[in-house]
Symmetry: C2
Subunit: 228 residues, 2 copies
DNA sequence: CGGTTCTTTGAGGACCATCAATACGCGTGG
DNA sequence: CCACGCGTATTGATGGTCCTCAAAGAACCG
């Protein structure tokens, strides 16, 4: 049975509510691919032939222009990407590379568009996912434009703290140079920014972040539900 | 007949393909409102009770944090806003103010969500609009992260040039201080950036931009279909 | 263990923000 | 019509932030 290989994504919010028939149609022609770390899967400017889903591993979306590169976001298990370009049948605006060994499910864009037209539950789920990604990008932009680099770092540290079960000590999930790029700064400056946060309750040792004074850090970062 | 007041938007891509019945349902409880210039219609953090459409005039979406403010985008005739928050029934992430005297159509968010579920053509149009806005935001972010402020200004000047029928001389559509905020810089710096662009083929006199050397300006700006 | 990549630190400079002062534009009311 | 006031735009001076370049130290991997 074709769906067997895609059991793992059947329960995702994006696919959970649709009919079995629609799910079969969707995954016909879909496939799973394993990628080694640091492999560019998608280059910006190409057609969006497949909706991608991270089954395991970790993917970075990034963009380049005029010999410069910037990290836009990092995706983990069960995230989709290339959804907007898939729905509009347009060119990808971002490139994608694996950061670790990753398993990626690829669903033909045509399938997504045709099932969208025939399964209202799936249509709703698509809109939900699109809206979520859109709003995440707006938040990202507000973060970049309204905060200094040190404030962005402070809020990033707090967000990871919550994502990792409110642990006061945790490992950074990505390399520092990529974090720097995501936060809109250079690796050198990220290093200095970490030092600047010492008096605000942050210790760093390699990949390990330790929050020594949560109250002080929070007071400095001023996290906001409309940004973070 | 209720739809009479909304004739003007019936032909928009978002509403053009839906059934008359669905359009009636959608506009039931909708209304048109006139706003004077410089009036804040929506404040971030509020619930998104209405989908908004600019019928005439001009609206700026902006955000604030910790006594800072930034312009995210400017909308003109026939643009929608608050679509993502409307679909997900979430809080607005941005505020909106009129820049000129404006006529705004407001459609109850509940109507949008219920018609979405019942009219596939409308659902498709919603996804199209959402994807378009999402991709525009990604472009905006790439512009901010990959280019210097002068490069952003140069590309903005080129983009307006095309929007205004390839005119080599045209009026800026918004105040310079708002343009500065949109481009992620201060008004003072925008002034200096205009001066810096003189040798690259740009003359400025008040609100009037004159491109004196399109080839040189284009060579400097390096516009890119994946950003602009 | 050697090479590569990443990270950190320092020095210097470019870019950008802030502050202050002036000039300009525009609408209002005298 | 002019004077005035208000907000915007410009210009200069200054300081801070951030980037670049360079070099050394640390981590990773074959």
């Amino acid at each position: 049975m074709t769906t067997a290989r895609f059991e793992s994504i059947r329960e995702l919010p994006l696919f959970g509510e649709m009919t079995d028939e629609a799910f079969d149609t969707l995954t016909r022609g879909a496939f799973v691919q394993n990628f080694p770390p640091n492999m560019v899967m998608i280059t910006e400017g190409e057609a969006a032939d497949f909706l991608h889903i991270v089954q395991s591993g970790c993917v970075e979306l990034f963009s380049t222009w005029s010999n410069r590169e910037t990290s836009v976001t990092t995706l983990y298990e069960n995230s989709t990407f290339i959804l907007a370009a898939t729905m509009k049948d347009r060119l990808n605006l971002m490139s994608a590379r694996t950061l670790q060994k990753s398993r990626i499910i690829m669903i033909p864009s045509e399938n997504v568009r045709s099932v969208f037209a025939n399964d209202p539950k799936f249509a709703l789920a698509i809109v939900d996912e699109l809206s979520r990604c859109y709003r995440a990008t707006i938040r990202n932009m507000k973060n970049l434009k309204l905060r200094t680099s040190i404030e962005r770092l402070a809020n990033y540290i707090l967000k990871q703290h919550h994502r990792q079960g409110d642990a006061l000590a945790y490992q950074l999930p990505i390399e520092k140079r990529r974090l720097a790029s995501y936060l809109g700064m250079t690796p050198e400056n990220l290093s200095r920014a970490f030092n600047n946060l010492k008096p605000h309750g942050v210790m760093v040792d390699g990949q390990t972040i330790t929050i020594t004074d949560l109250a002080t850090l929070t007071a400095f970062a001023k996290p906001d539900i409309l940004i973070d």
